[in-house]
Amino acid sequence: MKNVEYRTATSVQGGLIVMGGVPGVAAGTRVSLRDHAGRLRNGLVIRVSDEAVLVEVFEGTEALDLERTWVRFLDEPFRLPLSRDIMGRIFNGAGQPRDGRPPIISAERRNINGEALNPAARAYPREFIQTGLAAIDGMNSLTRGQKLPIFSGGGLPHNRVAAQIVRQAKLLGEEASDFVVVFAAFGVSSTDARFFQESFEDSGVLNRVVMFLNLADEPVIERLLTPRAALTAAEYLAYDLDYHVLVVMTDMTAYAEALREVAVLRGDVPARKGYPGYLYSDLAEIYERAGRIRDRRGSITLIPVLSMPSDDITHPIPDLTGYITEGQIVLSRDLHNQGVYPPVAVLPSLSRLMKDGIGKNYTREDHPHVASQLFASYAKALEVRGLAAIIGAEELSEADRRFLEFADAFERRFIGQGEDEDRSVYETLNLAWDLLSMLPPEALIRVSEEELAKYHKWQAVP
């Protein structure tokens, strides 16, 4: 069957082609398609019956006709060839080289859809990863095997934040970064792709990075394969070669839009904002591939970047993502406009796995309480700031004015830091106490009395 070419197309439209009367085609099989000019295209069978086979064409159906289109069914799902040599290489969304070097030849070829991990086989992530960013390490810390997205918006520096995390991420006690990076970009501009490439080059990690690129002007359907191909490579590196893999993906919004585009062509019933009802399941298939497996050394930590359409966190893409991932790092346009970098909005940000990766045996015993206190104090401080905007700062009580000062200092000194500044978690915690010391001890009820005695540097104003 692999070698037979069929020329039985009965209709072609918007990326889909229907082939009539081909017996015994398997669902999900790969397709090779030759057009009238002899150009080869790739496709995937997405629906099949006795009478008709529906094929999705990655490169689009531009310039196809019914009479001179030949289709071969390759009788296998989409597979990615894998070997140690993928390190340092750049592939397109379908896993073919785009760096001008030869293709990967290997007997190890894996279905990019993967298979669901048995929940009983998972190991719970609890090793603290130090990113060097205080807003993350101190208040929303990342653990090995976690999936923690960055929710951003157009024009915000999410790429710079992601690149800084890649450069600085390390386990406590380790000298240099021990990570292998899989980087997947889909639907991004070539400028953004080049930014990452240069950032990896400058920090000397390029030979430990595998890149999968599908740029904004490249086939939309291929975008659906890109994250899957990248995660297949990540799984190979993590579970076959024992690496700790940090996967950075950008931009999930482009992915979801591609999914919607294809769903509409297929005639799927739309749910919210035209996105198909299976958007949640589809995103979960991607995100849930992060994690750790019992008795295996490697791990996959996933940082997907997504831009929230009109900064709306309730939009289906960030919303469904937030329900699947273990927290989110939200970037704020206000902070960005005030010149704070990284502009992390700490209150809507969250790391669900933080509680198990910090504290006594992981970072420092006061960490959980300090984080909780920073959240509470900053939330209160923002309330005060809101009030000051209405009645004027002069009208505030003495206690409230302290909170106002705390808010400013917290944003400038704690959240804000240099793009090359790599803070250790101890520096972060000490800085937190410096700032909390601007507030009277009785305003700090989330930390224990012993911790107050040990770290708080309050000097009552005479």
Binding site: D50, P270, Y278, P368
Partner: protein, 591 residues
């Protein structure tokens, strides 16, 4: 024997004459399983529990002759099953870290022998009814598994096995049923998941489910046999709250259904639970717990089934006379699975793409909760707690709004509270409970007659402070009268000293009913004492400087539930503290 005609994602069209809706099918070379959901002439539509990649038209398909059912017997507790009751640990032993398709593993262990003790009153000739207890197996140290006659069997007992060790397959009794044939009974039997198990009649729910969470037990109680929903946007702490309930509640059996949720959360439960002790019996929590896991990346049709697998097992333990809690996280994912299948079938969507039967399916699912008199005359209950994940946190969306009409207790989670790290982020204004009058009776008899009054006073205080807070946000705190400022402070005490509860703090994680009441009562005393002074003209600023206010906020994590005497001693000092302020103030006015 039939054949595959068409494959469209999880939906497969089969040529399979004479099949029945609901029948299980096995299709293709891989032997994937699914169930029939529609018939049209000789073709049948089936939804598959596993990924259909690689299936081809023309491959074989067969009906298995029974509906999706679960195996019920010893070996259920302490296990983790997938959405169609495959034991995931055994699946892992067979197919590795990833779930291979078509893998078949029986739900209960086949080799294991259980020590069975027959009921003394049973002998040849005894008349047996469905639901009667044949005998018992001590399944875990804390749970005695009562072996039931299947509900659809009744007749004359011919023979019952003597006490001894048996596997779940061996015959332990023979019964001559009505048509004269002989049924062999074993330690286990099967029951179709979409059919509620029968009972004699419904009882009134009377006892509150104690979860150890103050905002739930004290403010919005749930009864054993009741129905509750926990809606909340992502990040509001829904899963954390449910895990707290699963850990601490005073049910005898807890079934946790992870329906379309995160894999790591189940791992968390799996790794943590064995280390935790049941606060009511002191035994490891896993001995009373059972997990059903269909994580978000597992096939969507099995996700739809997982909820029914969970509730059927819950009913089975109820029929043994136990109080069972089932936590379903999340019913929204279940509804989405329903929507996804409906979409593939081309059914007309009504709201947000959901099929028209969403409301009725939800209602009939929740209807399986309740306290009942069992077929054998005992009493058992199923308490159902469903999480809802409204898109964008919008409670007016279909799943939340339908659920709200069905349930009695509504624990609404708020994004604002969660953002301020006020956990559990249960919104005291949005939440409600229809069980307060019944719960009040129990609290009055078992804890303190003042419970209902204290609860209402606290809620009124919280509502009033909400109004005051609005004023403060507009014009500042100086605009308030002294009394109003004290009210605001008292509300803060309730929020931080009672409502906020840390799941990670060892002492605070669980509060006994007594501790809940003592803490609440203490805050209300402080409020009353302070208010008395304020009315006498004492400056509120002086009161706000009292170290007592910060101390009271820490009591919850300083005094474990067993040390209430020490806490009561602290509280006994409150009047003295205020008395001193009163004196000091009186002296100053005299000068």
């Amino acid at each position: 024997m039939g054949r595959i005609v068409e494959i469209n994602g999880p939906i497969v069209r089969l040529e399979l004459p004479q099949t029945v809706i609901g029948e299980q099918v096995r299709v293709g070379a891989l032997g994937l399983t699914g169930e029939v959901i529609g018939r049209d002439g000789d073709t049948a539509l089936a939804q598959m529990y596993e990924n259909t990649e690689g299936l081809r038209p023309g491959e074989a398909a067969e009906g298995l002759g029974h509906a999706l059912s679960v195996e019920l017997g010893p070996g259920l507790l302490n296990a983790i099953f997938d959405g169609v009751q495959r034991p995931l640990s055994a699946v892992r032993a067979k197919s590795g870290d990833r779930i291979a398709r078509g893998v078949e593993v029986p739900a209960l262990p086949r080799e294991r022998r259980w020590a069975f003790r027959p009921q003394a009153r049973h002998e040849a000739g005894t008349r047996l009814e469905g639901g009667d207890v044949l005998g018992t197996v001590q399944e875990t140290a804390s749970i005695e598994h009562r072996i039931l006659v299947p509900p659809d069997v009744q007749g004359e007992l011919l023979e019952i096995a003597p006490a001894g060790e048996y596997t779940v397959d061996e015959t332990i009794a023979r019964v001559r049923v009505r048509d004269g044939s002989v049924r062999k009974l074993s330690l286990s039997h099967r029951w179709p998941v979409r059919t509620p198990r029968p009972f004699r009649r419904r009882d009134h729910a009377v006892k509150p489910l104690i979860t150890g969470q103050r905002i739930l037990d004290t403010f919005y109680p749930l009864l054993k046999g009741g129905k509750a929903a926990i809606p909340g946007p992502f990040g509001a702490g829904k899963t954390m709250l449910q895990q707290q309930i699963a850990r601490w509640c005073n049910a005898e059996i807890v079934i946790y259904v992870g329906c379309g949720e995160r894999g790591n959360e189940l791992t968390d439960v799996l790794e943590f639970m064995p280390e935790l002790k049941d606060p009511h019996t002191g035994r490891p929590l896993m001995e009373r717990t059972l997990l059903v896991a269909n994580t978000s990346n597992m096939p969507v049709v099995a996700r739809e089934a997982s909820i029914y697998v969970g509730i059927t097992i819950a009913e089975y333990f109820r029929d043994q006379g136990y109080d069972v809690v089932m936590v379903a996280d999340s019913t929204s994912r279940w509804a989405e699975a329903l929507r996804e299948v409906a979409g593939r079938l081309g059914q007309m969507p009504v709201e947000e793409g959901y099929p028209a039967y969403l409301g009725s399916r939800l209602a009939s699912f929740y209807e399986r909760a309740g306290r009942v008199e069992t077929l054998s005359g005992g009493h058992g209950s199923v308490t159902l707690i469903g999480a809802v994940s409204p898109p964008g946190g919008d409670f007016s969306e279909p799943v939340t709004s339908h659920t709200k009409e069905i349930i009695q207790t509504f624990w609404a989670l708020s994004k604002e509270l969660a953002d301020a790290r006020h956990y559990p982020a249960v919104d005291w204004l949005e939440s409600f409970s229809g069980y307060v009058p019944s719960a009040a009776k129990w609290w009055a008899e078992n804890v303190d007659p003042g419970w209902e009054a204290a609860r209402s006073e606290a809620l009124e205080l919280l509502t009033e402070s909400e109004e005051l807070q609005r004023i403060v946000n507009l014009v500042g705190v100086e605009a308030l009268s002294s009394e109003q400022r004290w009210t605001l402070e008292a509300a803060g005490l309730i929020k931080e000293g009672v409502l906020q509860q840390s799941a990670t703090d060892e002492v605070d994680s669980f509060a006994s009913p007594e501790k809940q009441y003592v803490l609440l009562d203490a805050m209300l005393q402080i409020r009353a004492q302070g208010m008395r002074l304020v009315k006498l003209g004492a400056p509120v600023r002086r009161l706000l400087q009292l170290p007592l206010l910060a101390q009271a906020r820490r009591w919850k994590s300083q005094y474990p539930s067993e040390e209430m005497a020490a806490l009561r001693a602290q509280i006994a000092e409150i009047p003295g503290i205020f008395e001193r302020v009163a004196l000091e103030y009186a002296e100053r006015t005299v000068e």
